[in-house]
């Protein structure tokens, strides 16, 4: 059989090419463009080489923001993943209450980021917010605009409130796919509740949990709107996460060159971590299979 040679078929990918060009490639290249050039205005640019990258790598400010970012992502993952699994384990398996739980849990996921930020910004205020006022009335020194710990606690609790549902729903889906026979066999084998979790539920949930971890990691590593609305990065720089710092640099100070170099490194870090994570996970699976 001879295959028909028809090079015209290449034209069919043109629409996609155009779309990707405008949605991703061209904007990214503008950033690349800024990252390697400098300007003194009048739209005149000259070559700066790797200077901006060198600057950024030596910048204490960037490292501090990265440190805060890693701390933030680690803390929320450490809370949301176990909490989500715990919630999923305790949800009703079927019937009216199961449906009700699912609806209630999806609600936070449907609220826009800036609204979530606003909700917590008001909720935590000492003068009019229920949370802030109550804590203050109880004699606890809570003020997220002034206290380092109060600010961190607020943005962490806010993220946990917003996103634990996602982990719980994914874990719940994983649990629902386990046939009853596994639980019956475990009873016959006289396995304890912990062993049922460790050897049946957790392995069967592993796939969806990986997705949950990856999603939550990427999302939290790029988070901007919610903490910005609540704390604006303060007090001082204590909640200035990577993207908040980036926006300050690019739009606040109009340092386009350093900000562009920063963006590219930021992008590469996310890509790298996600890739490593994905590879490790798929390899773990393979090793167990062989």
């Amino acid at each position: 059989m001879n295959k028909t040679v028809n090079q015209k078929a290449w034209f069919l990918i043109l629409p996609v090419l155009l779309l990707v060009a405008f949605s991703a490639v061209i904007p990214l290249m503008t950033v690349v463009n800024y990252a390697f050039q400098d300007t003194f205005g009048n739209n005149k640019f000259f070559w700066a080489g790797l200077d901006w990258f060198r600057d950024m790598l030596e910048s204490e400010r960037m490292w501090d923001a990265l440190g805060r970012q890693i701390a933030f992502s680690s803390i929320i993952l450490a809370i949301e993943i176990p909490l989500g699994v715990f919630v999923a384990l305790n949800m009703p398996k079927r019937g009216f209450w199961a449906s009700l739980c699912l609806v209630l849990m999806s609600l936070p996921l449907l609220i826009p980021w800036n609204v979530v930020g606003t909700i917590w910004q008001i909720f935590g205020r000492v003068d009019i917010g229920l949370l802030g006022y109550t804590l203050d009335a109880l004699g606890i020194d809570y003020n997220y605009t002034q206290g380092f710990y109060a600010a961190w606690a607020t943005i962490i609790v806010m993220d946990v409130w917003h996103w634990t549902s996602l982990v719980a729903l994914l874990a719940y889906a994983g649990l629902q796919s386990i046939p009853d026979a596994y639980y019956q066999a475990a009873k016959i084998d006289q396995a304890s509740r912990w062993k049922v979790f460790r050897f049946i539920e957790l392995p069967k949930m592993m796939g969806v949990l990986m997705i949950a971890i990856l999603l939550r990691f990427m999302d939290s590593f790029m988070i901007y709107t919610e903490p910005f609305v609540v704390t604006g990065g303060g007090p001082g720089n204590s909640t200035t996460l990577l993207s908040i710092d980036l926006v300050k640099m690019a739009l606040g100070q109009f340092d386009l060159g350093p900000a562009a170099a920063f963006s590219i490194m930021y992008y590469l870090v996310i890509l790298l971590i996600s890739y490593v994570f994905y590879t490790v996970m798929t390899n773990l699976d393979k090793r167990e299979d062989s």
Binding site: P179, A181, Y182, Q184, A185, K187, I188, D189, Q190, A191, S192, K195, F199, I200, P203, K204, E288, D289, S290
Partner: protein, 359 residues
């Protein structure tokens, strides 16, 4: 090891059962004798698995009691009953090795490490998986996984009973024979009470000392394979056991004669005059072809040679009668009658066997 007593046991999956049809398992009184091997035989949906799950405690009965050695365990959870059960489809712990899978039930009971090691080796030899002990269970084939499930069922020596719920469904035929033989030898060696659920009569008859036949949520007969063959207590037993099953024909019976579609046959024994729906049941093994004018007039439709014997399918007024003839027997087209050996005739009244008078 224990004697298991079912006392007035019944189960319904409905919350408020009222009529008898609501019950998946109808009221049942039965002793499972300590150390016997039973097969629970019946078609799909007759309540076999329900009964098994009630014994193991996975299901709590709507009424009645279960006793292990006269101790009431009706409300005891599965873990306290110390029972082994193997399910129809393989259940393995994916992330564990084969060895850990087999050791799991013993570890949960806190057995001694050396004992576990020896016992796992022994069971692995029995199911033919010694070479695979250190492999993860998740990559294995379905029948290897089922062998692990069986192994996990057999690994504890102190269980009260071993329950098998159609465990060989996914195993290939060659291995089926081998595993069934292993189960039998295991039974001889340790004398566990074993209950083996199946819908395959060959499996049931080769495995068990006693076969319990269930039909529509009810135990219709319990007996040795020979009793089930010779005196089926219910037309279902006659039909379900045997290949082909028993011939069942509508009849009028008075005393020691039966009239089937206008033809009179002698029964050899007296049965009185049963009313209601009366049927005559004769196994194909007790029917033979003849010429002349005694017996039931038939036309031969088909002869099937199955190797050890021939099965003759004959038509009698629109219903089929099967006859088993010896492999060497010659069957001529002018054989137009079927005669029954009186020793093999059973009379049924509303599907239940009527005992002959004076026996």
């Amino acid at each position: 090891m224990a004697k298991i007593t079912l006392d007035n046991l019944a189960h319904s999956y409905l919350p408020n059962p009222t009529k008898e049809d609501d019950f998946a398992l109808k009221e049942l009184n039965h002793d499972w004798v300590d150390g016997e091997a039973y097969a629970l035989l019946g078609s799909s949906g007759c309540g076999k698995s329900t009964l098994l799950n009630i014994i193991s405690g996975l299901l709590h009965p709507s009424q009645g009691r279960i006793l292990f050695n006269d101790r009431d365990v009706t409300h005891a959870p599965t873990t306290q009953r110390n029972i082994a059960q193997v399910f129809q489809f393989p259940v393995v712990y994916d992330t564990m090795t084969v060895r850990d899978n087999l050791a799991f039930p013993m570890r949960n009971r806190g057995a001694d490490a050396q004992y576990i090691k020896d016992r796992v080796q022994q069971i692995a030899a029995m199911i033919g998986m010694e070479a695979m002990l250190d492999k993860k269970a998740r990559g294995l084939t379905a029948d290897a996984k089922q062998k692990i499930s069986l192994g996990r069922g057999m690994v504890r020596e102190d269980v009260n009973a071993l329950l098998f719920d159609e465990p060989l469904t996914v195993i290939d035929p060659h291995m089926k024979w081998e595993l069934r033989t292993q189960l039998k030898s295991l039974h001889h060696e340790f004398g566990h009470t074993m209950i083996y659920v199946t819908h395959d009569q060959t499996e049931a008859l080769t495995f068990a000392d006693k076969v319990v036949v269930m039909y529509d949520g009810r135990v219709v007969q319990m007996g040795t394979p020979q009793e089930l063959f010779e005196t089926p207590q219910h037309t279902f037993v006659g039909y379900f056991i045997g290949s082909p099953g028993m011939n069942v024909l509508d009849a009028h019976v008075s005393g020691s004669t039966a009239v089937i579609a206008g033809h009179e046959i002698a029964l050899g024994k007296g049965y009185g005059t049963p009313s209601g729906k009366v049927e005559v049941g004769v196994r194909p093994e007790f029917a033979s072809l003849a010429t002349g004018d005694t017996g039931l007039p038939v036309t031969i439709k088909r002869v099937e040679d199955v190797g050890r014997h021939k099965i003759v399918r004959a038509d009698f007024h629109g219903s089929e009668i099967n006859v088993i003839a010896a492999e060497g027997a010659s069957i001529s087209p002018d054989m137009n009658r079927i005669v029954f050996d009186p020793a093999g005739i059973n009379i049924y009244n509303d599907s239940w066997r009527v005992a002959p008078e004076g026996v």
